[in-house]
Structures are given as C-alpha cells and as structure tokens.
C-alpha cells in the first residue's frame, strides 16, 4: 500500500481517537446536540468514501483490473461476457456482504443478499442472458485491506450507445466521483463511443476544475513492445481531452502481470504490472481534494465540539475570578444577550431570508453555468454535427449523444451545487455568529452540507425506496421515464460523496426523464432520410428544437429540485448548530449562577479543578488547529 494511503489512514484514525476522547465528556456535560453532531461527523469520517469510478468500453479488461487492484483474482468473473446495464461497487466491511439491486416491474427496487459465488449469476451474460433479471447494481462489501481506508471502486457498464438510458444516468453521476479511471485497451483502437465519452468527461472536469481527477489506465501493457502504442494512445487522448500531453495522467499497466505476481510472487511480474505506480496515481488523485474535505469536515466538527466544552468552563472561571459586582453584572448581561440571540436564531424566520437570498444566488449561478454549457452543445450541433453524414443518416445517434451530453451538464451542475451550498453554509454560520471552527481553520475547503440521511435530520430520517419515489414526483412528467433513473440514481448517489441517496434519487429520476424525452424522436426523423443533405439538416434541426427546449427546462427543474433538497438539509443543519450553541450557553449560565453563590474558599478550590479540566481541552483545540493548518496546506 502506498504511503498516501497509510498517511490518510493514520490521519483518520487520529481524528477518530479524538472524537472518542471528547464523546464521554460531552455525555457527562449533557451536551446532547453537540454529542449527536460529533457522532454524525464520526460516521461521516469513518464511512466517508473515496470514490474511484472505473469506466470504459466493454471488454477492456475492467474486471481483471478490479481484481488485480483488490488482489483478489476471483472476485469478479472475467472469462465471460458481462451483463449489460450493471454497476458494480466494491467497498470495505468487517464481514463480507454482497448485495444485488434488482429493478422490479413496477419500478421499485429490491435488494437481495447473495454470496460471492452468486455474482456471476447476475453479472455475466451466461448467468443472466440479456439481463433478464434486471440487475442494476452489485455492491460487494468485503474485508479487503486495500479498501479499509474508505476507498470505493465503482465499475460502470460500457460507455457504448447500446444501453442508452443506463449510460445517460451513469454519465450524470460521474462529476460526483473523486477520481475517474478511464480504461483504454492498448491493443485495440479507441471506438467512437469512447472518444465521445471522453470529450464529455473532460468537459465536465474543466467546469468543476477537476481535470487532475481524470486518470487514464492503458491496459494489456504485456503484449509486446508497446512503447509506440502507448505513445499513440497518449497523443490521441491529449487531442480528445484538449489537455497538453505532459499534463495527462496516464499509466500503462498489466493486470495480468499483477495477477501472475500474486500467484507466483516473481518481482519481475510486479515490475511489469506497474500497479504500484497505478495505486500511487489513484491515491494522489483522491487526496487532491477529497481526503482534505473528509478530514476537514471532521476537524471542524471536533473544533466546534471542543469549543462547546471549553466556553462554559471559561465562563465559570471568569465568574469565579471576577469578584467585583460590576464585572459579574457584565458577564450575566453578555450571557443573557447571547441566549436571547440564540433563541431568536432558533426561530427559522430570522435567517430564512438570508438563506433564501444565498440560495437564489447559487441558483442564478448554476443556471447561468448550465445555460452556457447547453448553449455550447447546441452551438456545436448547428455548426458541426448537422454537417456530418453520420448524424444525418442516423439522427437517433445524434439524439442519444445530445441526451448524454445534457446528462453530463446536469451532473456537473449538481457537483457545483454541492460545493456552492457548502460555501453558503459557511457564510450563514459566520453571519449568525454561531460557533464555527472554519473561522480559525481557514486553510480548509468548506465541508459539504451534511445530507439528511447522515445527520438524522428530523424531517425525514428514513429514506428508502419510498422516499425516492416521493422525490421523484417532484419533477413533472417523471412517470414517462426515469424509473430506472430513480433506482440507479439512488444507488449511485449512495456511493458518491456529497450526493447521498435522496439527491441521487432526484438526480437519477431527472436524468431518466431527460432520457425519456428522447423516445419521441425515432419515427418522424427516419422518414426524412430521402431528402437532400441541406434540407435534411434543416429538417433535423427543426425536429430537434423541442428536445433543445426540454433540456433547458430539465436543467432548471434539476437545479430547483436539488437546491430544494439542499435547502432542507441546510435548514436542518443550522437548527442543529443553534441547538448545540443553546445547550452550551444554558450550561454556562448554570455554571455562572453557581459560581456567584460560591464562597471565596470554594471559589479557589473550584478554580483549581477548572484549570485541570480546561488544560487538556485547550491543548486539544490547539492540536486540532495545527492539523487543520497542515491538511489545508496539502489540499492546496
């Protein structure tokens, strides 16, 4: 395992230790809300995923690559053809659990526990011809040491146009991944659909500034002298992604050599496999942003909790020290004022306007970005795609392309929403003068708004399939399509950081609806084949107009639905912070009252005890700040 992995692992363990150290103190001090928040943060940190999505055309050796990465040669069946429309995810658990998600005839989801040996029965063409079992996802949780640090590997189905709806939905989720591993077979030329996929992925990455998260894995580097093939591939990838060659992250590997090394232990096989380099590259992509976000979130919550412990003690100390009547008077007045302010904040109305204004700003920005992207896509249609014979002869291909392009725009916008709402959260907390670690831990990116599923927000605690269907109806016309999208979206959302099953469901069904809009185009356009090129291009453009309009509308709907979801989560989060602060202030008031009643001798004894209690807490707060400064630097 690389140093980056063990580094992250150590950092995480340290923070978990600190949480465990603070928890009994919070319990003793009856800081109910702070304790709950810290528990939620602990959960986010320990369950926090670093998601690397593997994508590429069918038969590019993706299963072999997965097996080799996990050092488990037989986990995923490789010698048969993979079933279509299936997402496979592998993550860590103490005991192995394999689960298959099946889509039911009525559009609902069934999750079934299976064991490892049954995977082939769902995942392969021979075990499940034409995917008649409607398997949508297989999740494998397994005690594999390579996954312990929270790495989730997701294998997406091929990027080809054969299974368009699945491709559309998957495409929409890719911008939420922490790293994309694009698998290229050195011995085969890149296909049209691969190039198309890459153009889309690199475009999304440019918008969110995540271009370094796009990794290229050239497989089958064991065939022969492949320097030339690798150079060719590099050139082609540079051209497709529009990035200079030297800035592309390309690793040529041999999964077979890695598996041979696992079987026979010959170091030459390990050398040829180049897997050590691959792991290094994957982890450096993950730590580029995501590990910092995960650790930063926990640090900020730790800091808030430790501050909630320190403040009442400091208040009491001040009360004990301050003998003058006037000083005590001031202290009481300050406390009363703060509690009044907190009571006011507890009424949602006081900051609701600010929240609305902030979210409106985000909405405007997201719509503008989405608009720009869609304008770009449709501009290309007019200036380029309608001139190509291929699309004039096969208009359906153009429709499929446009639908997947729009899905990528939606996914990108969603990812931007995750980041912008994080910033809104920070601003609101600052403006409300709530305790917020970020003030002092400035180097770190703002942690994302915790999703309701994780914080256990009171409005909706349990969001199973039921909840997903409820959110689905938030989008008009969902019944036309989007059932698969909702199912797959919730499934994918649960895997991707910052999305969560609920927003995943919304996003997925929106993508499904987007896809559903495509179906009306088949018949009318085929009829126009016989016309002349120019006329055909014009006719096609005319026919596509409703699709164009519906895409702009869908994007708007998605932005609204996603922001509504974030709005609720933000509200729940702010309420929780206010509650925690109220409890802390309550405790402080009690301590101050008691202090005022204390005799001089009692006060001296009490002060000594307080200093002892405070010292380790102040030390902890200082170390938290040190770590924050450190991680903030590496995250730059």
């Amino acid at each position: 395992m690389s140093e980056l992995v063990s580094g992250f692992e150590q950092q995480r363990l340290e923070l978990l230790d600190w949480v465990d150290e603070l928890d009994p103190l919070l319990a003793r001090r009856r800081a109910v809300e702070s304790r709950r928040r810290l528990a939620a943060a602990r959960h986010r940190l320990s369950a926090g995923r670093l998601t690397a999505v593997i994508c590429g055309e069918f038969k590019r050796g993706k299963s072999t690559l997965l097996n080799a990465l996990l050092a488990e040669p037989d986990l995923f069946p490789v010698d048969t053809v993979y079933a279509t429309s299936l997402v496979i995810a592998a993550s860590y658990a103490e005991r192995e659990e394999v689960e298959v998600t099946l889509e039911q005839a009525d559009g609902s989801v069934l999750r079934r526990r299976i064991d490892r040996a049954e995977i082939a029965g769902y995942a392969t063409e021979s075990g499940n011809p034409h995917n008649t079992k409607r398997a949508r996802m297989i999740t494998v949780r397994t005690p594999n040491p390579r996954l312990r640090s929270g790495l989730t590997l997701v294998d997406t189905p091929g990027v080809g146009g054969v299974h368009a709806e699945h491709t559309t939905v998957t495409t929409g989720f890719l911008p939420g991944a922490d790293a994309l591993l694009f698998v290229v077979d050195l011995t085969q030329p890149l296909t049209e659909s691969e190039l198309e996929f890459l153009r889309r992925a690199s475009r999304s990455a440019r918008v969110t500034g995540d271009e370094d998260g796009l990794l290229f894995v050239l497989t089958k580097a064991d065939v022969g002298d492949c320097t030339e093939l690798a150079e060719d591939a590099r050139t082609k990838l540079a051209e497709v992604t529009g990035r200079p060659r030297e800035r592309l992250r390309v690793v040529a590997v041999s999964a077979h050599a890695k598996l041979a090394y696992l079987a026979h232990g010959d170091p030459e096989d390990l050398e040829l496999s180049n897997f050590e380099e691959l792991e290094r590259v994957i982890w450096s992509a993950l730590s580029r942003r995501r590990t910092t976000v995960l650790l930063g979130d926990a640090l900020s919550e730790l800091d808030t909790a430790v501050t909630a412990l320190i403040t009442p003690l400091q208040g009491e100390r001040a009360a004990l020290r301050g003998s003058a009547e006037q000083a005590q008077q001031d202290l009481r007045e300050q406390l009363r004022a703060r509690r009044r302010e907190l009571d006011r904040l507890a009424e949602a109305g006081s900051w609701h306007d600010r929240l609305t204004t902030a979210l409106t700003g985000v909405r405007r920005e997201l719509l503008a970005r989405a608009g720009e992207e869609l304008d770009g896509l449709w501009g290309d249609v007019d200036s380029y795609h309608l001139l190509l014979d291929r699309y004039l002869d096969h208009p359906q291909q153009l429709v499929d392309k446009l639908v997947s392009d729009a899905a990528a725009v939606i996914g990108t916008v969603n990812e931007l929403a995750v980041r912008r709402t994080a910033a809104v959260q920070r601003e609101l907390v600052l403006a409300s003068e709530l305790p917020l670690a970020q003030q002092r831990l400035g180097g770190l990116p703002p942690p994302p708004v915790p999703s309701l599923e994780v914080t256990g927000g009171q409005q909706r605690t349990d969001r199973g399939a039921e909840g997903i269907r409820a959110t689905e109806s938030m989008i008009a016309g969902t019944s036309a399509g989007g059932a698969l999208g909702g199912v797959l979206g919730a499934a994918l959302g649960s895997l991707l950081p910052g999305i969560g099953a609920a927003i995943g469901g919304v996003l997925g069904s929106a993508l499904g609806t987007l896809f559903g809009a495509r179906n009306g185009y088949r018949t009318s356009m085929e009829a126009s084949r016989e016309q002349q090129r120019r006329q055909r291009a014009l006719a096609l453009r005319h026919e596509l107009e409703p699709l164009r309009r519906s895409q702009y509308r869908h994007v708007q709907e998605v932005v609204d639905a996603v922001l509504a979801e974030f709005g609720q989560a933000l509200t729940a989060e702010l309420h929780s912070r206010v509650r925690a602060a109220q409890q802390s202030a309550q405790e402080e008031s009690e301590r101050v009252r008691n202090a005022e009643r204390a005799s001089q001798r009692e006060a001296a004894e009490r002060l000594a005890v307080l200093e002892q209690e405070l010292a380790p807490l102040l030390h902890r707060r200082a170390t938290i700040a040190d770590r924050a400064a450190e991680y903030g630097r590496t995250g730059e």
Binding site: E57, F58, K59, V81, E125, P129, G158, G160, G161, V162, T187, Q188, P189, L190, T191, E192, S193, L195, K220, A221, D222, V223, G224, D225, C226, T227, D232, T235, K236, E239, V240, H256, A257, A260, D266, E268, D269, L272, L388, D389, R390, D393
Partner: protein
C-alpha cells in the same frame, strides 16, 4: 447442371435484352449499364475485406496471399481502396494508381515509398490496383478497403487532410467498393463486443445490401492476443465467434464466422531463415521458462536474459513477426513435431492459426459458387435498371420489357432457385434442422461441385452408389415437399432440392 450452360443461357438472355432495347439514343445509358452488368460475369470473383480501421484487414490480406504485399509500409496509402489482382501472364508486378479525374499511372511495386512522398499523386487517388503474381489471386480478386469508421483519431484526420480526404470519403469509398464486390469478408477484431454490435447494425443498414449469408463470411482476427490467458486462443476464438453468431445476430449476415490468429498466419508466410534458426534455438530450451518470459512481452523484447539463447534485439524481431502466441506456438510445434525445415513450420503455423480452415471456407463458400453468385449479381443489377435510370414512361416500358428476358431466365434457372433457397434458409424462413442445413449446403456445392461431393460421397464412387444415394434423397425431400406439416416456403424449398438431386443423375 454445369455452370457453363448456366452462364451461356444467362449471356443469351442479356443478348436478347440488349436487342430488345434497340438503338434509341435515349436508351444509351441503359445499354451501357446492361453491357456492364453482362461483362461482370466474365470478370474474376471480387472479394472485399471490410471492417473497422485496425481490425486487421491488411494483415488478413497478407496472410491470405502469403506475402507482405498490402501497403503496410506506406501509411498514406492505407486510406485508399486497394484492389489486388493476378497480373496477366508474363506481365510485370506493378501498382496502377487510378486517379479521381480519370486516367491512371503505373508504378513499380518497389517504388511505393517514393509514391507515399508524392503529394500530387496522393491527393488525387481514386483507388489502387495492385497487380501481383500470386497463385491465390487466380481464384479471386481481393479488395482491401480502408475502413468503415465514421470517425477517426485526430492524427489520422491530419493524414487525411494532407490527402484532401475526409473520414466520410473513406467510408463512402469503402461502402461503394464493397457494394460492387461479389462477396464480402467482414473482419471483426477479437472481443470488440459493443463496437461490433454497432458495426453489424451498420452493415445491415440500407447501404450494405452485399452482406447476406450467401455472399458474406466473417473473420474474427487477432485471436493470438488471447494468449497466455487462454492456452488455446483459437479454441477460445471459436467460443467467442459462436457467441457472436447467436447472441449478436451475426448469423443473419454471415454464413460463418471463423477465428484467425491473423498475425501468426501473416508471420508464418514471411518468416525468414534467421528467425527460423532463432525459433529452433529457443525451442531447445526450457518451455516453461520461455512461456514465462514471453508472457512479459516488453521485457522479452528488451532485457538481456542470459538464460535465453537469442539476443534481445532478435527476440524483439520475433515478437514483431509472430506475436507472443506465434513464438510460443512455433516453439511448441518444433518440439512436438520435430520440425527442422522452414516450409514445414510454415504449413503447421498456417494450420494452427486457423488460416488453412479460413481459406477452405472461402473456396467452399464462394469459390465453388463463384459463377452463380456473379450471375446472380449481374441479373440483379440489370433488374434494378428501370427503377435506377431516370427515364420517361415510354422508355421505362421498353427497358422493363428488355429486362423481362432476364427475369424469365432467373425464374427458369435452377441454380438461381437454389440460391433463393439458401437465402431463405439463412433468413430463418425455412424449418430446416441442422442435418437439413448441412445437406442444403452440400448439394449446392459448399464442399465441391462434383456429383460425388454434392451427394457427400467419396470421389470416384461407383455409379450404382451415386444413383442409390440420389434416389434416397429424392424420396426424402419429395415426402417433405408434400407434407402439410411444413410451411409453404419449406415445401417449395424441398421441391427445389428434389430437382437438385434429379439433375445430379439426369445430368
């Protein structure tokens, strides 16, 4: 039953049609087209290789011809259609460049490199005609097409731009030349599963009438790359091919799909004595060690390895020639069969790469029916004339009258009836079990055109046996022809087969 007679009668039908057309200047186009169609019959069978770029078409062509003749040396030329033909007796091997504006230029084969630097010529090529002295080309012309891809990598687009071509041009040229060919070999690259389905969908599109099981076979190339994960790559290739035939619906388009270790076959044909000596040396060593080293391809070609008796540079050369599986296979054959001469190894490699089988498929499926397929296409071309030409109502009537002679000939000819049955069978319109299918293929000449071959009897079987066997089959199919349990189409097909057997004994 001879093709000779069939050809004569068809030629006569064309003559009658031409006479019927008369000398009206308005019908000059029709006359030219009809003459062109009639002439097609006298030309050799044209076999086109079609597939994606880099699917191994040129390698397959080289393997078929047993020589490295297809412009692998001059990259710029691979974007053009190459028509490989047998040079006229006593003629010089050469390249004829057909220019887009009409006219042509001749180039000695040795000067391909010069040509690839000559931009003026390069930018005006319509297609290339390569005249070779090659025994294989006596049986058929080979048309190597550049590729069906509608999109090419930017580097290739750059090359194309210097040639003043676009991807669409290349694709159009591929389609038009393939459509003019009598038969097509669809070349699939090992394991391109999703892409292949797209490709097949395109073949089935309107632009590609040529691909039916009667006129198309498939090659699954590059199966050598399955080694060492699959110790028997050809066997695995058969498994993949079988899956593609059933699951992906290839059966509707190609008669059969055969795996070929194309690189091994090409290498076998071009192997040098030095390389053979190196293989002998490697074969003398430890087989397990050799395989282990081969599995690490790049290291095999570059590391010193004292335990291998051939220096790295020459090992790299062997890999380029035969690929990893080829080296493994060759050394295995040398050990097991005691090979000590190069020609012997060549033959074994061709057998074991699937090439011998593939050639047999070509001769069986196309070669034995070459005349019939060509005639069929000539007649089809003629029958399409009234719809294709831009004619007034009177002239259209005249042309329709003229080609009616051909329609009559088509209906009368038993050979065409057999072709129709084959086509119906491949389209799944007939209720034939596997034994019936095998018999249909055999009696229509799949395994040879002699009476014995059509009956599935050894050559030189006594006349008595021939008659008994034919009578037996006539009885079998006659019963089928009147059995109400079968569909009308199946009963009619049975009737045609009865006639086929009758013709075998009545001559």
């Amino acid at each position: 039953m001879s093709d000779e007679a069939l050809r004569r009668r068809t030629a006569e039908a064309f003559e009658r049609a031409l006479r019927q057309l008369g000398g009206s200047p308005a019908l000059e186009d029709a006359r030219l087209s009809l003459r062109d169609a009639a002439r097609q019959v006298t030309q050799p069978m044209r076999l086109a290789l079609v597939g994606r770029i880099s699917s191994g078409k040129s390698t397959l062509a080289n393997a078929l011809l047993g020589n490295e003749v297809v412009a692998t040396g001059a990259r710029e030329l691979t974007y053009n259609v190459s028509w490989l033909r047998q040079v006229e007796r006593g003629g010089r091997e050469r390249l004829v460049v057909h220019l887009r504006g009409g006219g042509s230029q001749e180039w000695p084969l040795a000067e391909l490199a010069v040509l690839s630097g000559n931009n003026e010529v390069l930018t005006s090529i319509d297609y290339l005609e390569v005249l070779l002295d090659n025994a294989e080309l006596a049986a058929y012309d080979l048309v190597d097409t550049p590729g069906l891809d509608s999109h090419l990598g930017a580097d290739q687009e750059n090359t194309l731009r210097t040639l003043r071509l676009t991807a669409s041009d290349v694709r159009r040229a591929t389609i038009s030349h393939a459509a003019r060919a009598h038969a097509v070999v669809l070349v699939f690259c090992r394991g391109l599963a999703a892409g292949d389905e797209e490709l097949m969908a395109e073949f089935q599109g309107a632009a590609f009438g040529a691909a039916t099981p009667v006129t198309a076979v498939g090659a699954l190339t590059k199966v050598e790359l399955l080694w060492p994960q699959y110790p028997d790559p050809l066997g695995e290739g058969y498994r993949i091919a079988e899956r593609m035939m059933t699951v992906s619906g290839a059966r509707r388009m190609v008669y059969d799909l055969r795996p070929v270790a194309s690189k091994v076959a090409e290498g076998a044909a071009t192997l040098t004595e030095q390389e053979f000596a190196d293989l002998l040396a490697l074969a003398a060593g430890d087989p397990a060690l050799l395989d282990r080293r081969l599995a690490r391809g790049p290291f095999f070609a570059s590391r010193p390895y004292e335990d291998l008796p051939v220096p790295a540079r020459r090992r790299a050369q062997l890999l380029r020639r035969l690929d990893r599986y080829g080296v493994h296979l060759a050394c295995g054959l040398i050990r097991a069969e005691g090979v000590d001469r190069l020609p012997q190894l060549r033959k074994l490699l061709l057998d074991r790469s699937g090439m011998t089988e593939f050639r047999r498929l070509l001769t069986g499926h196309f070669g034995n029916r070459a005349d019939l397929i060509k005639l069929r296409q000539a007649v089809d071309q003629a029958l399409a004339l009234p719809a294709r030409l831009d004619l007034g109502p009177v002239q259209r009537f005249t042309v329709e009258q003229a080609v009616a002679h051909l329609r009559q000939a088509e209906l009368d000819e038993h050979g065409f009836a057999e072709l129709r049955v084959l086509r119906q069978h491949y389209n799944g319109e007939l209720r034939f079990d596997p034994a019936d299918s095998a018999e249909l293929a055999r009696v229509t000449g799949e395994h040879g055109t002699s009476t014995a071959a059509r009956l599935g009897l050894p050559e030189g079987s006594p006349p008595q046996l021939v008659r008994t066997r034919a009578a037996d089959r006539i009885a079998h199919w006659s019963a089928r022809a009147v059995d109400p349990a079968y569909s009308r189409a199946t009963r009619q097909a049975a009737q045609v087969l009865v006639r086929s057997y009758e013709r075998l004994i009545t001559g």
